[in-house]
Amino acid sequence: MKLISLQLHNFRQFYGTTPKLSFASGDRNVTVFHGVNGAGKTALLNAFTWALYGDFTRGFKLEEQLANRRALREASDGSYVEVWVELQFKHSQKNYLLRKKARVHKGADGSPEQPVVEEIELQFRDESGELKTEENYAEAIGRILPEDLHTYFFFDGERIERLAQPSSEEQADLSRAAKKLMRIEILERAERDLEKARAELQGELRGVGTSQTDELLRLRASDDSELKKLNFRRDEAMRNIDELKVQKHAVEERLRDVEQVRELQEEREQLVQRDLRLNTEQSSNRAELITEVGKDGYFVFLQQPVNQFRALLDQLRSRGELPAGIKRQFVDDLLDRSTCVCGRPLEPNSEPWKCVHSFRERAGLADVEEAAIRLSGQTDEVAERATAFWERVSRIREKSRQIREERAHIENKLDQIGEQILHAPGEQGPALERRLNEIVEGLRGQEHELYSIGKDIRRKEEEIGEIDSRLEKEETRDARHRIAKRRVSIARETKTLVENMRAVFERKFRHDITEKMKRLFRDVTVVPYTPYISEDYKIQLLDDTTDSLLPVATSQGESQILALCFIASVIEETKEYNKRRDALPGPDSSALPVVMDSPFGSLDPAHRRQVASFLPKVASQVVTMVTETQYRGEVADALQGRIGRAYVMTYNTPRDGVKEVSTSIEGHSYPLVKKSSGDYEFTEIQEVRNA
């Protein structure tokens, strides 16, 4: 922020409009305002803080006294006095004009009321020269020099020691201000927002739910194991069946070799072959029936609508409405010609006319007749196909019945043969038959087992299929869960990273500031003390002469020096920090002015000289308001060659008998105190020539 100029109107001691007060910059960056006590030096400081932040310094008098007394006296009762401040400054290549205007109403008793701010406008010219207005002036000023920092750059020197001995509330302000200047605040914001984001992401993670994959995988493994066992049992049953079949075949062969039962055995084998063929036929018969039903089965359900259609047609015929037999157009032509086909005249409303006219109604059914003829053909086909379907089905069912009967007969016959062999003469035949029965019994048992295992295998495979499908869904959920979990973890990691970075930056800032303060304090003072900034930003002086570095009680002057050293160190550090590559984003603090009222008040001559010497070197601009006693001597010497502009504030007093005072600057005399031409006080400002 580079201060360009300030102009006041009816602001406190300043009656009417002051000249535009320009501020020095560059090598000669000091602007001095000379004035006696009461001339308005503190008012000038407060013109800055009021315009920029709507704030006043601690020592400033009541706000109702914002308007100049002479202007108020001249205003009629019930009217108002307009007060304004215009501040021009430059920041980040832009020229700003801040205009703040207020009205102070004069009450019926002549006393001023609370000021009412009428207008606050912050205009700027951008790079193209176009004039623009900042919509939110407070926010814009906050970007340039944050409000909570202004007490370090616009301060009352007589009270500055408070900065070095802050209350706990002020320590917090100091800490916040320092963090803002060093852009550490942005890390705090990031830390806070990352924590809130982490909490939100944690909620999303809970929403995804816990994974059931492990449980499903456990079930899957268990089912796999059971399926494996079932398959083993199936293979075993199949092997047993094969073995039993081989044994059966061997026994049957041996039965053929036994004389007494050979014929029975051969007959049995033929019957078995026949039964097998019948079984095959039965299967193909069943397949044929299924095909028939699938192809023409639906004709059965069309029978009812076909019957309804035929009944309707019969009704129409019985009423004589079908066939229609005559076209409506033909009847209309006869009526138009007024002559019947038989040659009789058709006079309207005559009997022949009525007779012919009645044909018109019947003629309307011609379309119905045409549709009926067409549909009749189709319904006949439906009926025929339904009949044919039933015939084919009956034939298949009859064949099925015959097969079933024959097979039942074969079964009986086989039982009889079995019995006969069992009771056949000789021992070998019956013994082989008993063995055969055992084998067949075993085969049935194994086949039943195989069937049962097959059912279990199918059920298990279905269960596994279902688990696989659920696993697939779980995998998707698991992927979401993994991502949600990772997001929470990254939010936490980033927050910790920011937290640690902030700790490093803060430590570094306090260390750098302390080092700078030490250097400045050593240059300015002769006492063997060292400044120290505690973690809670309390500025202390420690006794350097002892190993334990005990804190020492500071005098008012030392406190003021400490505070000035602190401000200078902050400015220096901020400027350096601003240039550094690793600087955090934040306000541009490359140029920081210092506006100070009576900064040398409590200092002894040596300290005045030192402070006056280092401040212009550190701050980009110094604007100071001084009395003659504060300025003359050491301060004037120290500022030699640094002053770019100087002003004299001439205080006009209504008091009689007051001695007029003047000062000599650069060989010219300027009045500091004058007798007012009226019975009111006011201050005029004039620039010092060749300052």
């Binding site: 926010e139 939100e200 990273l497």
Partner: protein, 54 residues
Amino acid sequence: MPGEERELEVLHANASDEAKDVLKRVMELENRHLYENQPRVVRDVVNIIKEVVK
């Protein structure tokens, strides 16, 4: 102070690439909204993390 710079370097070296990416984007976001107090900044931080961790 080389010590502190080294500390920052170590902090960055030990951070995951994702955390560094999130940090960079969040700092840009915070800088854009430095002078405002908008709850949507948190929403944007959540979105940044979601974009980085897909």
